[in-house]
């Protein structure tokens, strides 16, 4: 790995080197390295780019890292990663994509991640997207996440895209069985001329299934954001989405919530709020000695922390 790649790796995965334990590292369109552990098997797909991550039932407190780095301009790739999380396992998966685009061609990474969360399994999925580079080429990321959670399973997704991604279209679809839970925390910041769209489509099929989607975003400069969510309650279940956006400068944000109850005991809530930083918040921090700009930064950083 060269310097740029190492720094990307740090940005998206907080790693300074190839991680311990099971991992798969993809650099510039090829599998750079992978390692399976006793309980977590990583298998390269034969028919298309991507890997299968197979986690044995009952695996506890293990983690797997699967960062993707792009440092070549003009590179476009579509990768399929499938996660099979065995019954009763409890694992953390750290994914992330970093692009350094120093040229004039667009660099694009699209990943389709499918999760099969077994009965009573728990998985924490952390994903960071980051872009940099001074060329005119755009950094594009289009992640798609498909989630199926079996009875009693639990998945928590933490996604963050804070800097440097020019265009993103994120789609998450999920299907939950009995007693299954899906929690999503999304953080997003766009600046410059960036565009970000994020869409959730969640089917609460099983009895006592539940989901909570929390999206916090900041749109600055001329950037545009679109938030779509569609939660369908098809059984006794609970669903809650919160979309909370700070809008600044000349940005534009649209939130389109949809909740659909197909069952009398489906309890669904959507909250959406878009607004600029409250004047009194700025004033409060200024009375503590911060300049207006510093106050703005502190509020935005806190909001996205």
């Amino acid at each position: 790995m060269d310097k740029i790649q190492l720094s990307l790796l740090e940005q998206v995965a907080d790693l300074h080197e190839v991680p311990e334990g099971a991992y798969s590292l993809r650099i510039d369109g090829v599998l750079y390295g992978k390692r399976s552990s006793e309980n977590i098997e990583i298998v390269k797909k034969e028919d298309k780019p991507g890997i299968d991550i197979i986690i044995k039932p009952g695996t506890k407190n293990e983690s797997v890292h699967i960062p993707v780095l792009l440092s070549q301009t003009g590179l476009k790739e579509l990768v399929y990663n499938d996660f099979h999380i065995g019954e009763g396992a409890d694992v953390t998966i750290v994914a992330g994509c970093g692009i350094h685009n120093g040229g004039d061609g667009d660099a694009e990474h699209s990943g389709i991640h499918s999760f099969f969360v077994g009965k009573n399994a728990r998985v924490k999925y952390i994903e960071k997207h980051y872009g940099e580079g001074d060329g005119n080429g755009k950094n594009i990321m289009n992640p798609e996440t498909v989630v199926e959670i079996d009875e009693g399973g639990y998945m928590e997704m933490q996604t963050a895209q804070i800097k440097g991604v020019d265009s993103t279209c994120r789609k998450t679809t999920a299907r939950l069985k009995k007693d299954a839970t899906l929690i999503v925390h999304e953080k997003l910041m766009t600046h410059g001329e960036q565009f970000a769209e994020t869409e959730f489509e969640i089917d609460l099929d099983g009895e006592n299934s539940g989901t909570h989607v929390v999206s916090r975003s900041v749109a600055r400069d001329h950037s545009r954001q679109k938030f779509l969510s569609n939660i369908r309650g098809n059984n006794r279940c609970s669903g809650h989405t919160e979309c909370d956006a700070i809008i600044m400068d000349n940005a534009s944000v649209i939130a389109i919530p949809e909740i659909l109850a197909n069952h009398v005991d489906a309890s669904l809530i959507h909250e959406a709020a878009i607004g600029k930083i409250a004047g009194e918040q700025l004033i409060k921090l200024m009375t503590l000695g911060l300049t207006e700009k510093e106050a703005e930064e502190a509020i935005v950083n806190g909001f996205l922390k």
């Binding site: 916090r216 909370d244 409250a278 009194e280 918040q281 004033i283 409060k284 921090l285 200024m286 009375t287 503590l288 000695g289 911060l290 300049t291 207006e292 502190a298 509020i299 950083n301 806190g302 909001f303 996205l304 922390k305």
Partner: protein
């Protein structure tokens, strides 16, 4: 010393502060007066949140009338709001650190919280959001001003929402703060017990300084001011 010279503040066609002249130099100075008499507005004019329509404000002889909120804060003006502001995401520790102007160790931040009667470990990582109660928020606001430790600290109705048990502790906080800063503590209050610790009391009525003087002189006449309140005269 804080000095206001002929300070007026007008919004559209209403004059909210009218020709205020004050020299404030004591340890504890209380501002009291009927609701709507202009107390909070006066505090905001001193902190730089509102710019007076006319008149001058001087801090230690320096004209600060045209200085920004930030500049005044850095010169030593602190202001605890009547209605503290909530922030999504910022924690109690973040706010106290910003107030102190440096990254604080957990233990230092905790000291400020304990002083206002909050069990520090329960609060230090809480967000300053809607989940905090009104009284908790008020106490955190006071802790922030305490952490700043500036030569002029203005508290806008600090006792509001604070339970009776904590009242004496609150007064202790002010006393300790003064021991540390040797500055002036300006407290807007309707509470007799707070007025009672003041060296001097300012009575604002209808945007004007009605009375300003030693507590012993002002307090006895205070009930008459309230009795003569213009609200009851149907103005």
């Amino acid at each position: 010393m804080l000095e206001l010279r002929n300070v007026s503040y007008r919004v559209e066609n209403t004059e909210i502060l009218k020709d205020i002249n004050l020299k404030i130099d004591d340890r504890f100075v209380a501002i009291t007066g009927p609701n709507g008499s202009g107390k909070s507005t006066l505090a905001k004019v001193i902190a730089g949140i509102f710019v007076p329509t006319s008149g001058q404000i001087l801090l230690d002889g320096e004209d600060i009338t045209n200085l920004s909120i930030t500049e005044r804060a850095n010169m030593g003006v602190s202001f605890a709001f009547q209605q503290p502001v909530r922030f999504k995401g910022l924690t109690v520790k973040d706010m106290i650190s910003m107030a102190a102007g440096e990254k604080l160790s957990i233990s230092t931040a905790c000291t400020y919280l304990s002083e206002v009667g909050l069990c520090a470990k329960d609060y230090i990582n809480r967000e300053i959001n809607a989940s905090l109660s009104g009284g908790e928020l008020k106490r955190i606001e006071i802790a922030m001003i305490n952490a700043r430790g500036t030569k002029l600290s203005i508290f806008d109705e600090p006792e509001a929402g604070i339970d009776l048990w904590s009242f004496n502790n609150l007064i202790r906080v002010f006393e300790k703060m003064h021991e540390r800063t040797h500055g002036t503590i300006l407290i807007i209050s309707h509470q007799e017990r707070i007025l009672d610790i003041a060296d001097k009391v300012i009575v604002l009525v209808d945007g004007r300084v009605d009375t300003y003087g030693a507590k012993e002189k002002v307090l006895p006449g205070l009930l008459n001011v309230n009795a003569g309140c213009r609200f009851t005269k149907g103005e």
